[in-house]
């Protein structure tokens, strides 16, 4: 077993405008990218469950040229609203880092 963090070259989150958050999981090589997709460890449903958000709100992409999985969701708090604790949205990706990848 490896973690998604160990397999990826970069896992990050960021604002996509003040009302959306986006997550990029990027791989160095085709093999790691395919292994994670084939293992089904990071799907729309997995993400929705981990982040406790409605699956219908999750936008999910495979980006083959970038060897990346990308996920976007509405921000739980509008950027810089009084309840928002992450102005740039840069620390929301942490739970993805320790996902276990079988094989």
């Amino acid at each position: 077993m490896a973690t998604l963090g160990e397999m990826a070259r970069l896992i990050r989150s960021k604002n996509a405008g003040p009302y959306m958050l986006t997550f990029d999981v990027m791989f160095e090589d085709e093999a790691s990218y395919r292994r994670v997709i084939d293992a089904g460890v990071l799907t729309k449903a997995v993400f929705a469950k981990l982040y406790q958000v409605d699956e219908g709100e999750v936008i999910f992409f495979h980006h083959d040229a970038a060897k990346a999985i990308k996920i976007s969701i509405p921000r739980p708090y509008v950027q810089c609203d009084l309840d928002d604790g992450d102005a740039y949205g840069g620390q929301q990706h942490a739970p993805l880092v320790e996902l276990q990848v079988p094989g």
Binding site: G17, M20, P74, G85
Partner: protein, 458 residues
């Protein structure tokens, strides 16, 4: 069409670039030099107040090199979203810096200013006539919300910039603009393929963000040709690879394949990325799908109130295990103290106090999957807000003392339950703002939304 060469000085003016990289870019004889100046990423404060994001010193250094480079080649220099938010105050700030540099360095140029701050009456009219529509997700909008905005800007596309260049401007400083439009304007003027022009612009606008291991903000160069563009960083140590360039479409976009611009959509889904050598990349098959009519994104900020902040650490296990009820009880009893202090002039609806618990769910809030787990110590950040600065500070001073000594059932006698790393414990944060628009306007008269002004400098 041949070739249009575009030099991007940096991802954001004021964040810096290496003089050697920029000089290399100038030696490649670009047809245009451009740099973006802002975004909504730093929050609504800059739009709300008109205050810039970066220092004047950092911005002046970058602008001076760009103005000198432009003077050498006599090509257009475009700086967009001046002062971060791109409000009229940001344009005025950048204009004054440009005038100061021109005076000090003996430069002369035709200066074009393109403002994008919007008239509230115009927007209310557009709203009444159904030409303002929400982008998902968007807050409720009404004439009252437009009215109470401190500032509203519309994000311009390339047309107002092209208009300024055609009017003879050498240096164009704009209000809020699509970052991409700054770099696409000259290629599009010269009839470049729109797909390649917009996609090259998308890579250029972030400076060296599309390199493999970005060591610092720096300059990057693109050659836009009939059916492709080539991109190469100017620092010999920096490298672009097919993957690093492809990956750039992920950054800060909700959708990595379809990127919306004021005049249409850049479609990168069929793109091919090819290494020209170990540092430069060629991109083919970028497509631009023009929209039926131009639409402009609106950004608005309104005052949320005046804020104070109190930071503290908690190490005691008894307080940590009941921290939510401890805070709730404290706020309830504090309300009585507020009543005493203000004699009814400030009631429970006139202020709010929030607590954020670092070490539990301080970073992720309701997205936190491990919210129940707490370590042996936590950090707490209290924020207090009210519509009046003096009221906020009076509340904050009293609350810091009240919270410090607030009792818990386990101990009898006076306790001090908070570790303050700073005194005074309370910090005046001044006015804070909130975003209040995520809407697009499809105006009947697009040209009327962006105001041009020209001046002969030097």
């Amino acid at each position: 069409m041949g070739e249009v060469r575009v030099l991007s000085a940096s991802g954001q003016i004021g964040s810096g670039f290496m003089e050697s990289s920029f000089a290399k870019g100038i030696s490649l004889k670009p047809d245009v030099i451009a740099c973006d100046g802002g975004s909504s990423d730093a929050g609504p404060y800059h739009l709300g107040t008109g205050e810039p994001h970066f220092s004047r010193e950092g911005t002046k250094r970058d602008l001076k090199l760009m103005l000198q480079g432009r003077d050498t080649l006599k090509v257009p220099l475009i700086v967009g979203s001046c002062g971060m938010a791109g409000g009229d105050a940001g344009v005025a700030w950048m204009r004054d810096i440009a005038l100061e540099i021109a005076r000090e360095e003996g430069l002369s140029f035709n200066l074009g200013l393109v403002r994008s701050e919007q008239d509230k009456g115009f927007l209310k009219q557009e709203l009444r006539e159904g030409r303002i529509t929400p982008l998902n997700p968007a807050p409720e909008i009404s004439e009252a919300i437009i009215e109470r905005s401190s500032h509203i800007v519309a994000m311009m596309g390339h047309e107002p910039i092209v208009q300024a260049i055609e009017a003879g401007a050498d240096v164009i400083l704009t209000g809020r603009a699509s970052d991409t439009a700054l770099f696409a304007a000259v290629p599009l003027m010269r009839n470049a393929d729109p797909g390649s022009a917009w996609h090259a612009a998308k890579i250029l606008e972030c400076g060296t963000a599309s390199t493999v291991q970005r060591k610092r903000p720096d300059s990057i160069f693109a050659w836009v040709r009939d059916d492709h563009f080539d991109i190469e960083p100017l620092d010999p140590e920096a490298r672009c690879t097919p993957q690093s360039v492809a990956s750039h479409s992920l950054y800060e976009n909700a959708d990595p394949f379809l990127i919306t611009e004021p005049g249409g959509t850049l479609d990168t889904s069929g793109c091919e990325y090819e290494a020209l050598n170990d540092r430069a990349v060629r991109v083919t098959r970028s497509r631009f799908l023009p929209s039926e009519r131009p639409t402009f994104k609106l950004e608005g900020a309104e005052l949320a109130g005046y804020q104070a902040a109190i930071m503290a650490g908690i190490r005691e296990p008894y307080i940590i295990r009941q921290i939510d009820s401890w805070f709730a009880g404290m706020c309830e009893r504090f309300a009585a103290r507020v009543q005493e202090m203000f004699q009814g002039r400030v009631g429970p609806d006139d202020y709010s106090i929030r607590m954020r618990v670092y070490g539990r769910d301080g970073v992720m809030g309701k997205l936190e999957p491990l919210a129940g787990q707490v370590g042996h110590e936590v950090g707490v950040l209290f924020t207090i807000i009210s519509p009046e600065r003096s009221v906020t500070m009076a509340l904050a001073k009293t609350f810091a003392h009240f919270a410090l000594h607030y009792p818990i059932p386990e101990w009898r006698g006076l306790i001090s339950g908070l570790a303050f790393p700073m005194t005074p414990a309370e910090t005046d944060r001044g006015p804070v703002y909130r975003f209040n628009l995520n809407h697009i306007v499809a105006p009947r008269e697009p040209r009327a939304m962006f105001r041009h002004e020209y001046m002969e400098v030097g």
